[in-house]
C-alpha cells in the first residue's frame, strides 16, 4: 500500500514533467463576461469560447486581445482594441509585438519545413544505406558463385582421376615450359600456406612462376602396390599386395576384372559377389541373404539355419506363408459321381493336416447354382446332388463358414461386428485343434 504523501509526490512529479515547450500565444475576441467576472475569449479560428483566468488588461465584449495559453490556463496579456494608453509608441510597440508574433509563427513554420526536409534527407540516407547493403550482399553472392565454380572445376578433375590423387602422390616442380601447353594443369605456389593451387586460365606472362606435377614415380608405386595382371584378368587389391598372383589367398578383399564379368573375393578367398550371368554360389561358412523387409531368405552361418520371412512371402500364387504359419485353415472340397449322384466332400486343412472331422458339420454350407439361379443345399461335411437336380450347367459351391475367435458374442447368439466393422454371423465358438 502506497502512503498518501508518496502518492501525492508521485502525482505532482507527473504534472511537472508533462509541461513541454510549444506555441503558447494567440489572438482572439472577448465574447462574454460572466457575473463572477470570468472573461471568455473566442480564439481566432476556434469554434467555442474559452474562460480566462485573472486578466492584467481591462476588457469588454468584442475587444481584440492577445492571450497566453499555458499550464492549463488562458491569460489575457493585452487588449488590442483598447490599448492602455493613447501613446503612439505604445501602439507601435504593440504592432511590433504583433509582427514579432507573426514572425515567430513563420519561423515556427520554417522550422517545421526544415524538420520535414531533414526527415526526407534521413530517408534518402537510409535508402542509400540499403542500396549499399544490397550491393554488399550481391558481392558476397558473386564470391560464393565463383568459389562454387572453382569447386566444380575440382570435381571435374576428380572425375578425370587426375587432380586429387596426383596432388597427394606426385611432386611439384617449377615448369620449364616456355609456352602454355594446352591441356596441361599448371599450379601456383603459396609460400605462406605451402598450398599448390591449379591455375584456371594460365597466363603466358606468368608461366615462369608456375609449377607442374610429376606423377610417374607415384604411378609406378601405385601400380606395384594395387594392381596385378594374371591369366584370369586384372586384380585390384585395395589393401595393397603388389605380389598378388592368381591364388585367392592374399590378405584382404580383392576384385577381379575378368572377361566374363567382375568378382569380389573376401580375405579367405571366398567369392562374395559376382556380376556374371551365372549367379552367385553359396558358401556355408558365411552369412548370406536375399530379398528385403517384405520377403527374404536368410542364411545364418553360425547357427546353420535358413529363415524365410516377411509379410509378402507367398506359396504358389495365392497362399500367404503367414496364413500357414499362423495356423489358419485352408478350405477345399472334392467330389465323386456314382449312379447318377454326385457326392461333394468338404476338406479343411491346417498346415498339412486334414482337420475336417474336427469341425462341426454345420460350418460347411453348400449352394447349387444353375440356370434357375442359386439354391441352398444346407450344411454338412458332405452333400449329395442328383444329375437331374444339378440341371443344365449346374455347379455346387462349398463354403466354409469362417472361424471366429476372440469375439464377444451376444447372449443367445446373434450378430456382432468384426474388427473391420463388417457384420458377421457367429456360430458356435470353436477352435481347430491341430
Amino acid at each position: 500500500m502506497l502512503n498518501e504523501v508518496n502518492a501525492l509526490e508521485r502525482a505532482i512529479d507527473r504534472k511537472v514533467a508533462a509541461t513541454a515547450a510549444r506555441r503558447t500565444r494567440a489572438t482572439g475576441t472577448v465574447s462574454r463576461i460572466e457575473v463572477d467576472g470570468t472573461v471568455y475569449v473566442l480564439l481566432d479560428g476556434a469554434e467555442s469560447d474559452t474562460p480566462s483566468s485573472a486578466s492584467s488588461a481591462s476588457v469588454h465584449p468584442g475587444d481584440k486581445v492577445n492571450v497566453t495559453v499555458s499550464g492549463g490556463r488562458l491569460t489575457i496579456d493585452g487588449n488590442y482594441s483598447r490599448p492602455a494608453t493613447d501613446d503612439a509608441k505604445a501602439v507601435q510597440a504593440y504592432d511590433r509585438a504583433s509582427n514579432a508574433l507573426a514572425e515567430s509563427a513563420r519561423a515556427h513554420e520554417a522550422a517545421d519545413a526544415a524538420e520535414a526536409d531533414a526527415a526526407r534527407a534521413k530517408d534518402a540516407a537510409d535508402s542509400a544505406q540499403e542500396s549499399a547493403d544490397a550491393a554488399q550482399a550481391d558481392a558476397t553472392k558473386a564470391n560464393t558463385y565463383s568459389n562454387a565454380a572453382l569447386d566444380q572445376l575440382g570435381v571435374v578433375q576428380d572425375v578425370a582421376g587426375i587432380l586429387t590423387w596426383a596432388s597427394e602422390h606426385g611432386s611439384f616442380e617449377r615448369t620449364s615450359d616456355t609456352s602454355i601447353v594446352d591441356g596441361k594443369v599448371y599450379f601456383t605456389y603459396d609460400s605462406q600456406t605451402g598450398d599448390y593451387t591449379p591455375v584456371v586460365e594460365p597466363d603466358a606472362s606468368q608461366l615462369s612462376t608456375y609449377y607442374e606435377l610429376t606423377v610417374d614415380e607415384a604411378m609406378n608405386d601405385f601400380i606395384m602396390a594395387h594392381l596385378a595382371v594374371t591369366s584370369r584378368g586384372l586384380w585390384v587389391l585395395p589393401s595393397g599386395k603388389g605380389t598378388a598372383v592368381d591364388e585367392q589367398h592374399a590378405a584382404g578383399y580383392k576384385m577381379l576384372l575378368a572377361s566374363d564379368g567382375s568378382y569380389l573375393y573376401d580375405s579367405a578367398g571366398v567369392l562374395v559377389r559376382s556380376d556374371t550371368a551365372s549367379g552367385t554360389d553359396f558358401a556355408s561358412s558365411r552369412d548370406w541373404h536375399v530379398g528385403g523387409e517384405n520377403a527374404y531368405i536368410l542364411y545364418d552361418a553360425s547357427e546353420g539355419t535358413i529363415t524365410i520371412g516377411g509379410s509378402s512371402v507367398r506359396l504358389g500364387d495365392t497362399r500367404k506363408l503367414s496364413e500357414l504359419l499362423e495356423g489358419s485353415a485352408v478350405y477345399d472340397h472334392d467330389w465323386t459321381k456314382a449312379n447318377g449322384v454326385y457326392t461333394f466332400t468338404a476338406r479343411l486343412y491346417v498346415g498339412d493336416e486334414d482337420v475336417t472331422a474336427k469341425v462341426p458339420p454345420d460350418h460347411f454350407a453348400w449352394t447349387l447354382r444353375n440356370e434357375s439361379g442359386e439354391t441352398p443345399l444346407g450344411t454338412g461335411r458332405t452333400v449329395q446332388v442328383t444329375e437331374s437336380q444339378a440341371g443344365y450347367r449346374g455347379s455346387v459351391l462349398g463354403e466354409f463358414i469362417e472361424l471366429v475367435e476372440g469375439q464377444l458374442m451376444e447372449s443367445g447368439g446373434g450378430f456382432v461386428a468384426d474388427s473391420a466393422g463388417d457384420r458377421i454371423q457367429v456360430h458356435e465358438h470353436w477352435k481347430v485343434a491341430v
Binding site: 500500500m1 502506497l2 502512503n3 508518496n6 502518492a7 509526490e9 508521485r10 502525482a11 507527473r14 504534472k15 514533467a17 508533462a18 510549444r22 506555441r23 503558447t24 494567440a26 482572439g28 475569449v41 473566442l42 480564439l43 479560428g45 476556434a46 469554434e47 467555442s48 469560447d49 474559452t50 474562460p51 495559453v69 499555458s70 492549463g72 490556463r73 488562458l74
Partner: protein, 277 residues
C-alpha cells in the same frame, strides 16, 4: 494457472475486426514478437510492438489490428492470455527463398487520438465535470478500441485550458494527470481509465521462484531487471520487492517494460522507487 510454476507456451496472432473488436482471422508464420510498454511522459501512446511475418510474395501483408495471444499449458489445463493488440503495418521486408519476410511495426490503439486529431485551440474541460468520463468520451469518439472507466471517476477542480496545438490524446493526459489518474491498454487493446494504483500487483521476494531472473541494471533514477511473465503488471503498476541482494528493496512503480515472446515471455522491466523499505 500458477504463473510462478513452469508451463508450456505458444503464441497466436489474430487479425481483429475494427468494429466487433474480436478475431476475424489468423496470421501465420509470425516470429520475434516484442511488445514495448512505456508509461513515461514522453510516451503518451503507451505501447509499440514489432514482429516478423513470413508470407507468400503474391499475398503481401495487409495492415490491420493484430492481437497476440499466449496459450499456456500447465498440468494438462490451458489458459489463453491476450498479450497485446496494436495496428501493425509492414515497415520493411525482404525476399528469402521464395518467401517474403516482412518486419511489422505496431502502433498503439491510442494512435487514432494523437497527431492530427487536435482538440482545437481554446478547448477546455469545465470544472465539476467527471474527468474520467470526459476522457473516455473524447477517446471513444476517435479510436476503434473500447474504452472503459474503472470506479466512480473524479471531478475536475478548476477549468483546464489545453495547450495550443494539443492533440486529443495530449488533452486526455492533461486531465488525467490533473486528477491523479492514469490509463492503461490491456492485452485485448482495450483502454482502461483508472486511478493510479495504490496496491502492489507483484511481489518479488524469492530469487528461485522463477518470477525474478538474476541481473539487475541501474540507470538514472530507475532500476531495470528481467523477470518472467506475470498477469496485470504494466506501467504504473506497483511492485513490492524484498530482495536486497539484488538491490531491490521497497515499493516501486513500473515505468516501462519490454515483453519478448518466445519460450514464455521474458519481461525486461524498469521501475522507479516510490517508497523505500
Amino acid at each position: 494457472m500458477d504463473w510462478a510454476g513452469s508451463y508450456e507456451s505458444s503464441f497466436r496472432v489474430d487479425r481483429i475486426d475494427p468494429v466487433t473488436w474480436e478475431p476475424c482471422g489468423t496470421v501465420e508464420n509470425v516470429t520475434d514478437i516484442e511488445v514495448d510498454r512505456d508509461g513515461t511522459d514522453d510516451s503518451p501512446m503507451l505501447e509499440t510492438a514489432s514482429m516478423k511475418a513470413t508470407t507468400d510474395p503474391s499475398e503481401p501483408f495487409e495492415d490491420g489490428w493484430l492481437r497476440v495471444t499466449m496459450n499456456a499449458i500447465q498440468y494438462g489445463s490451458s489458459e489463453s492470455v491476450a498479450i497485446a493488440t496494436l495496428w501493425f503495418s509492414a515497415a520493411r521486408g525482404k525476399y528469402n527463398r521464395g518467401y517474403r519476410e516482412d518486419e511489422l511495426e505496431g502502433v498503439s490503439v491510442l494512435r487514432q487520438a494523437s497527431g492530427d486529431a487536435k482538440i482545437g485551440d481554446g478547448a477546455w474541460a469545465p470544472a465539476g465535470t467527471d474527468g474520467a468520463r470526459w476522457c473516455a468520451d473524447r477517446l471513444s469518439a476517435l479510436i476503434d478500441a473500447p474504452v472503459h472507466v474503472a470506479g466512480n471517476g473524479f471531478a475536475i477542480g478548476e477549468p483546464i485550458v489545453f495547450d495550443l496545438d494539443s492533440s486529443v490524446l495530449e488533452a486526455v493526459w492533461t486531465v488525467l494527470r490533473a486528477g491523479g489518474w492514469t490509463m492503461h491498454i490491456d492485452g485485448r487493446g482495450e483502454v482502461h481509465i483508472h486511478a493510479l494504483p495504490t496496491e502492489e500487483s507483484l511481489v518479488l521476494d524469492r530469487p528461485g521462484s522463477c518470477v525474478l531472473m538474476p541481473g539487475t541494471d541501474y540507470r538514472e533514477g530507475t532500476k531495470t531487471y528481467s523477470r518472467e511473465w506475470w498477469p496485470d503488471v504494466r506501467p504504473f503498476s506497483l511492485v513490492r520487492a524484498a530482495m536486497p541482494a539484488y538491490g531491490l528493496d521497497g515499493l516501486y512503480e513500473v515505468r516501462s517494460q519490454r515483453l519478448s515472446c518466445g519460450r514464455g515471455i521474458v519481461v525486461e522491466e524498469s521501475v522507479k522507487e516510490v517508497e523505500s523499505a
